[in-house]
């Protein structure tokens, strides 16, 4: 069984079918690019995987765990969806950084909030234990919790700083998003997504909102993540990048996977007419 397995995703908005039975699978450590013309459903696919939309039909398995199964997923509680979401990270086209936090806090906010929840649970379980176990005193609980909190906080802070170093943002640690260029903002967004240690990181056209001279710095970061063997799914219009960095390319059109294969197969030897004309169109655009 593959690491990620998506089977027959279907999604309708009102009466338009946006996904019409998408299936594909990904191995651990693979980088997969999804290409296709505008409106083919690429964003919707990513949103379904991240539980921002609920597909009408389909199944998804990650690392042996059934994450999504229609129609049961519709009745799932918010808290369950929340923990499922953590399997994936999502980097948006428009960055969506939190403007009122500086770069470091953008990265640490979510991990700190998760820690808060964990501490609450820990406190509860210790209090349960106190009822039966006389050695568990209030003072002991207090001490355990505060030690755990300190340790984890330090860990989160260190992780964040490492991530900022990796994305080349150390000197921007205390800047606010409005003081950063688009490329820098997107790199913060990548660091922020990585801070939660997702199993798969998804990108939705990460460079589309950027000036051409800024795309390189973002692509470089993504490439460096590939060298760490991260599993990634990248929706992109940067064909050169898709060709160079991916292990596998998926071509979508009108809500179906028309063709998928190695970059060589897709770009040098397209089989379907749709893919051929998509590639020719792109080439023409580049030549204008």
């Amino acid at each position: 069984m593959a690491y990620l397995d998506i089977e027959n995703f279907c999604k309708k908005f009102d009466n338009t079918e946006v996904l019409k039975g998408i299936s594909f699978s990904i191995e651990k450590g693979e980088v997969v690019s999804i290409i296709g013309s505008s409106g083919s459903g690429k964003t919707t696919l990513l949103r379904c995987m991240n539980f921002l939309e609920t597909p009408d039909e389909g199944k998804m398995t990650l690392d042996g765990e059934r994450l999504l199964q229609c129609p049961q997923i519709k009745k799932e509680k918010e808290s369950v969806l929340r923990s499922k979401r953590l399997n994936f990270g999502l980097v948006f086209q428009s960055f969506n950084l939190f403007p009122q936090y500086n770069v470091l806090n953008n990265v640490t906010l979510a991990p700190l909030l998760l820690l808060k929840t964990k501490i609450k649970e820990l406190k509860k379980s210790l209090k349960e234990k106190k009822k039966t176990d006389k050695t568990v005193t209030s003072a002991y609980i207090k001490k355990t919790i505060s030690e755990y909190k300190e340790e984890k906080k330090k860990e989160i802070d260190n992780d964040a700083k490492l991530l900022l170093e990796k994305t080349g943002l150390t000197d921007k640690t205390f800047n606010y998003p409005c003081q950063l260029s688009g490329g820098q903002q997107q790199r913060v967004a990548i660091a922020r997504a990585l801070a939660l240690k997702p199993k798969i990181l998804c990108f939705d056209e990460p460079t589309s909102a950027l000036d051409p001279e800024l795309t390189g710095e973002v692509l470089k970061v993504i490439r460096s993540l590939k060298n760490e063997n991260r599993t990634m799914i990248i929706v992109t219009h940067e064909m050169g990048f898709a060709k160079n960095v991916s292990d596998k390319v998926i071509f979508m059109s009108d809500g179906v996977v028309v063709e998928s294969g190695s970059p060589k197969e897709i770009f040098d030897n397209p089989k379907s007419e749709k893919l051929k004309s998509f590639l020719i169109n792109l080439e023409n655009k580049e030549n204008i």
């Binding site: 991240n50 921002l52 808290s79 923990s83 969506n96 979510a110």
Partner: protein, 214 residues
């Protein structure tokens, strides 16, 4: 009538003006939040009812609302009259809560969906997304319209005199019976100073929040 006597009288009235102002502000700010949760609720009946109430309150004069709250319970239900100041307080609080709620709503609705989704994909709860991500952005957006509305409140306090609450303007007007006109202008100075202080405070807040852009 010398200057000191007039000043003392006006100060007495100004105290009542301040009382109305601060009590209304302190209660209408949180009540407005409650109203906006109602008017933005996903539960349709609640939403419709709350928006209906907001529409009525915003569509009728505050003076009328003061009069209704003061007289109607007594005349229609034979209840004892509310103390005047309490009636004013209720009318003002309800009225301003509705106005504030609409400002809150415009602020909340202007935050892009992307902010909610960014919070969601980072595993935050709905409450965390609202209070840790959205809230401060809304605050920043609504400070200018809120400061306008709050300055209007300062001047609206004078409507309380319609049910004979002894606020500053009522005293100032009473001096005209002695042929004195200048206390009217003098009372205007009180308003101007009050509004001036508020303007300074809001300017400070805006400046404090200028370190980020929404």
């Amino acid at each position: 009538m010398d200057f000191v006597t007039v000043t003392l009288k006006l100060l007495e009235g100004f105290l009542t003006t301040c009382e109305i102002f601060f009590l209304t502000l302190v209660s209408a700010l949180p009540l407005g939040l409650l109203v906006v949760f109602g008017s933005m609720s996903k539960f349709k009946p609640l939403k419709i009812i709350v928006r209906g109430i907001v529409w009525i309150i915003r569509g009728t004069p505050l003076m009328l609302q003061v009069i209704i709250i003061y007289y109607v319970p007594g005349l229609v239900f034979n209840l004892p009259l509310l103390p005047r100041l309490i009636a004013v307080f209720f009318a003002f609080t309800i009225n301003y809560a509705c106005y504030f709620s609409e400002i809150y709503r415009s602020g909340i609705e202007s935050i892009s969906k992307g902010q909610y989704e960014a919070g969601q994909v980072l595993g935050m709860t709905k409450g965390q997304v609202f209070f840790r991500v959205i809230f401060m952005q809304v605050i920043k957006i609504i400070v200018p319209p809120m400061s306008n509305e709050i300055i209007t409140l300062v001047k609206d306090t004078s409507l309380a005199r319609v049910i004979l609450v002894a606020e500053i303007l009522k005293y100032a007007e009473e001096f005209t019976a002695y042929g004195l006109i200048w206390p009217l202008f003098y009372s205007g100075v009180f308003y101007l100073l009050f509004v001036g202080v508020l303007t300074l405070i809001f300017g400070k807040i805006e400046k404090k929040l200028s370190y980020y852009k929404v």
